[in-house]
């Protein structure tokens, strides 16, 4: 028994003196809880909406203020008649538009009923569903309260919902872009990083460097197979999405492929960067998994909408490359937008690629010194 206790004491010493184990025991659970608690939030708060009020009468204004004071919605644009409603959705400015027709109150009193139209961006069907049901609930609540006050008025305000880009609210529309981002990141970044680390670990990298092969040739040689494979994968996912799941490609197919290529390039350069810092395959794999996979799934807007996250996490999500790519893909496939609407995101990806490559070259040179 004494031996056993002695052994236990030794084990505790190991644990408390190893910072890595301490992080695992205490740090990770806390981080996970905070992350999951905040990220997996299906609660909507401050969702961006626009209101097209063609009447500006008492009723519409009362309904509007009820909507805006609920805390669920934030008015970012007051639309005018003749505005292109599609545009605010394409630009991603709002998630929902509330449309009051002309002569709202008059029609209501005259006919006893009127419609409020809710247009929602259903490229993220879950959010769209929640937004429209919240809004619908608030409007019905208004009707009930009004009815209680004016018992005689048999007024009915009906809510008419239109889901844009994804009439059937198919969640696969949301998932396909995200899965594509995830798989491309996985193959490109993780595999390149492991491949290069493996050569370093086995000692064959030295032999390559001592040969007439130029470093650029080595790097390109390492990268090209994965470029091809990832591209084929991207194509496969898109084709499966289209033909098996019915996800549309409303925009340009060539643009889609172009952006995918860019994303793959970015992921590959990230893989190279990881390989310049990782001394062996294990480390490369860990960095790729923890640093890429988890954030991609949780923070890229793949499953959990970014605007539902607390502000610090929203800021963090900006440095996660898939976040930008998913916006691009959704725009091209579901909204049919052209390069004009996604130039910002495209530029971000280009900038990221350059940064990774520049850092990799710098690390490479330092090692040679």
């Amino acid at each position: 028994m004494k031996q056993f206790i002695g052994f236990l004491r030794k084990e505790f010493l190991h644990i408390f003196r190893d910072p890595r184990t301490m992080i695992i025991i205490f740090g990770i659970p806390v981080v996970q809880l905070m992350l999951f608690g905040k990220v997996i939030s299906t609660d909507i708060q401050n969702a961006k909406i626009a209101i097209l009020d063609q009447s500006h009468d008492n009723t519409t204004q009362r309904i509007t203020s009820k909507l805006l004071s609920s805390g669920y919605f934030v008015l970012v644009k007051e639309m005018q008649v003749g505005d292109d409603v599609e545009e605010v959705f394409r630009k991603g400015i709002v998630k929902m538009v509330v449309n009051f027709g002309p002569n709202f109150e008059q029609n209501l009193e005259r006919d006893g009923k009127e419609d409020v139209q809710l247009l929602a961006d259903a490229s993220d069907p879950n959010t769209a569903r929640i937004l429209t049901s919240y809004a619908g609930g608030i409007i019905n609540d208004y009707v009930k309260k009004e009815k209680l006050q004016n018992i005689e008025l048999p007024n009915q305000i009906k809510v008419e919902v239109r889901m844009l880009y994804n009439e059937g609210l198919k969640s696969v529309y949301m998932f396909v872009p995200g899965i594509m981002a995830m798989i491309l990141m996985l193959i490109s970044a993780m595999m390149t990083s492991i491949s290069i680390s493996k050569e370093k670990e086995l000692g064959t990298m030295e032999v390559l460097l001592a040969s007439p092969l130029k470093p650029l040739q080595i790097v390109l040689g390492k990268v090209t197979p994965y470029l091809l494979l990832s591209f084929i994968n991207a194509l496969t996912i898109i084709l499966l999405g289209v033909f098996v799941f019915g996800v549309p490609i409303k925009g340009s197919f060539i643009l889609l492929m172009g952006e995918s290529f860019l994303f793959i390039l970015m992921a590959l350069s990230l893989g190279i960067l990881i390989s310049t810092v990782a001394p062996n395959q294990m480390v490369a794999m860990f960095i790729s998994l923890l640093g890429l996979m988890l954030p991609t799934i949780l923070l890229s807007g793949f499953i959990f909408p970014i605007q539902n996250m607390p502000l610090p996490l929203q800021i963090v999500s900006n440095i996660i490359p898939p976040r930008w790519f998913i916006v691009i893909i959704r725009n091209i496939m579901l909204k049919g937008t052209g390069i004009m609407f996604i130039w910002k995101e495209t530029l971000v990806l280009i900038f990221m690629s350059f940064t990774f490559i520049a850092l990799s070259i710098k690390n490479f040179k330092i090692r040679l010194e």
Partner: protein, 243 residues
Amino acid sequence: MEKKVIEVRNLVKKFGSFVANDHLNFDVYKGEIFGFLGANGAGKTTAMKILCGLSSPTSGEVKVAGFDIYKETEKVKRNIGYMSQKFSLYEDMTISENIRFFSGIYGISPKDRKEKQEELLKDLGLESAKDSLIGSLPLGWKQKLAFSVAIFHDPKIVFLDEPTGGVDPITRRKFWDLIYEASDRGITVFVTTHYMDEAEYCNRVSIMNEGRIEALDTPENLKQQYGVKNMDEVFLKIARNKE
């Protein structure tokens, strides 16, 4: 006068403030087997990496195979062979595939490659292993193959970084037979090792200690100079002198 294939003048290599190579000066002649000895951490691997073009000197002049290591690194690499400490061949490829790969890099034509490959396998007695994955072969065979591939393109100099680690003395002896053959062919062999008995096999050896070359001569001369019977004791004497 024999031709110099390696010329080193005042080679200094610093990592931050740590001086790994402290003003090294030596020459290596064509066809000789030059042993680069020293304890671990003495700076031999650092120096060798510089000679192979794998890292840059902090200062000093270095010429390998007649080319300047700073300005003509590419030409240096074309004329040298290298066998790393952890082996040089890909375990998940066959001998033929490995040879094919390295032939491509060093610009050997397919015809030449096929001829040389046959010869190589016959010399080593490994024709039966032609289509085996390197990973499936015993350690001694792997080392011989790695060496043969390193000199496949007939380089002027071949650098061997502790090539016989982890292998029994008999296999080590057989490996050194290959080194002798290469030397007879006119290939200069630059080998680092910490097996002092292997020092006896070299034409000349240099002994490094704490970044400096403490001795450079033939094994015979060194043994006489220090009045001892073998290289082990030469080394011990030098190391003890420092304390």
